[in-house]
């Protein structure tokens, strides 16, 4: 059986917001190390991989590995019924077809219970190759969200170019073009700075991506104030958000050719 208690339902709510646009149904794979989810979007261009580590839960117990197949729209509805600061306990029996949610209010004696019907989802896991990326950009997630939102008003795709100069996001549209350059923040020696942009570069990269997906990825801004973009030429982009309980990784295939 599974029993997992999160100190705040908000984490799960935000997580769902971050993936539900991309994926309609998915398996939450539970085992003793935690809960993971991997799914491709309907167009098979992007992949999202989520991990919630057992250590991130207030209480966590999973006797044997089990997949929990869930319709994300239904799950979102159930999660909406929780307040952000409620504690949230997930329970599932070994061969049940229900996932139980218990929300306990922080300051009152309110206890709410919901049940979500599980479904059989047939999906294998795609092997994600270990990759040494040529460029790694660490930046405030809000800044990334703003850039992709702004550029998505202009065009369909964005060219991301990382060079010694910094990282440039450029989009060309029918009526207007735009480009945003972020330079690496100069840190006081040994110091840390909030809102810093850090660029680690082995070699120059220049890749084009669909903005629609990046805007979707940026929904994870609520999970983490920092985002990392990892890129190599001709390899899927990895957009990574790390948060206290785990991470959410998005992979996106670059656009090929001219269009």
């Amino acid at each position: 059986m599974l029993e997992a208690k999160l100190s705040e339902a908000a984490i799960l709510k935000r997580l769902l917001d971050a993936i539900k646009e991309l994926v309609t149904d998915a398996n939450f794979e539970c085992n003793e190390e935690g809960i993971t989810l991997q799914a491709m979007d309907n167009s098979h261009v992007a992949l999202v991989a989520v991990k919630l580590a057992a250590s991130g839960f207030k209480k966590y117990r999973c006797d044997r590995p089990m997949p929990l197949g869930v319709n994300l729209t239904s799950l979102t509805k159930v999660l909406k019924c929780a307040k952000d600061d409620d504690t949230c306990t997930l329970k599932a029996s070994d061969d049940g077809d229900l996932l139980n949610f218990v929300y306990e209010a922080r300051n009152t004696d309110r206890i709410a219970e919901y049940e979500l019907k599980l479904m059989d989802i047939d999906s294998d896991t795609l092997g994600i190759p270990d990759t040494e990326y040529d460029a790694r950009v660490t930046m405030p997630s809000a800044e990334f969200g703003r850039i992709v939102r702004d550029l998505s008003m202009l065009g369909e795709s964005v060219r991301i170019e990382v060079s010694k100069e910094g990282v440039r996001f450029a989009s060309e549209g029918e009526a207007a073009n735009g480009s945003v350059l972020l330079k690496s923040t100069e840190l006081p020696s040994g110091g840390e700075k909030k809102n810093a942009v850090r660029i680690e570069l082995n070699s120059h990269v220049n890749l084009t991506f669909s903005l629609k997906y990046l805007v979707n990825f940026s929904k994870s801004t609520s999970l983490s104030s920092v985002v990392q973009l990892m890129m190599s030429n001709d390899v899927p982009l990895l957009v990574s958000y790390e948060f206290g309980q785990g991470h959410i990784h998005y992979y996106l295939a670059p656009k090929i050719g001219d269009d």
């Binding site: 799914a39 309907n42 098979h44 390899v235 899927p236 992979y251 090929i256």
Partner: protein, 330 residues
Amino acid sequence: MCGRFALGIPYNQIAELHGYNVQVGEWVAQEHFHPRYNVAPRSYAPVIRRDTRAVAAEAASNGHESSEKSDQVIMHTMKWGLVPHWSKHDDGNLNTINARCEALVEGGGMWNSIKGKKRCAIPCQGYYEWLKKGKERLPHFTKRGDGNLMLLAGLYDCVTLEGQTEPLWTFTIVTTDANKDFSWLHDRQPVILPTTDTLNTWLDTSSGSWNCTLTKLVQPYHDEKIPLTCYQVPKEVGKVGNESPTFIEPLSQRRDGIEAMFAKQSGPKPSPSNSQISSAKRKLDDSAVSQPSPSPRKKAHKMNTWGDDSDIEYIDSSLAGSSTKVSRCS
């Protein structure tokens, strides 16, 4: 409802009708058709029909021999969306890109004067159907497992509209209930003529009327010797203006997809993670819905929708004709 199909191969390969024992005589109005992987309603496509002129001429010249000669078939480029011979105008509002087989079998209605005399077959590489999944509609392509052209049963008609001097030739595709292997995709599918025999039976209009053999032909697809395959394809096919040979290739194998990218990445340079990669190749089927596709061997496993969803506007206004909504076909 309705449809979209692919016929992107060169003229000579179309006319060859590989796998069917049929000799196509000539191709009338060939120049009106341009091979495309995205053939939409209200555009032009070739149909196969008996050469009625030959029959008539033959009959006139020597009385009875006509029945043997009438086997002569021709290819004829016509416009998709039947405009009946009694029409004065092509108002574009007719939902006649499909004809429901129930309407043909039961009789009555507008098809009565057409179904006995003007039957044709529409060659295609396969057809597209959109699977509804939540808010999204995912295009799927259905084709013959053996890769031969698929022949869809159709009706045609010819009319000279008011103010026009040239006759307008048009066709419709006959639809039936989806068979059970394909009902997950859509409740309707086109009537498929799998063999030379079924094709000849359908095209034989010598009696000039409907009969019970034809009623059998329009039952849901059941030829076990010729399985169909079906798989998800790129969404771009939804826009009528788009055109690409990749529209008939499985989405999971698309070159610009995440799966192909990962495979390429892990292929050439073996990395430590290799074993993991090969062991776990995923095909994502999330929801039962999208099933795997590329297994030609399986029986029709998914197929679809020739039908209805048609109120979808997969037809894009930018192109071709106005933003016609594809409407339900009746």
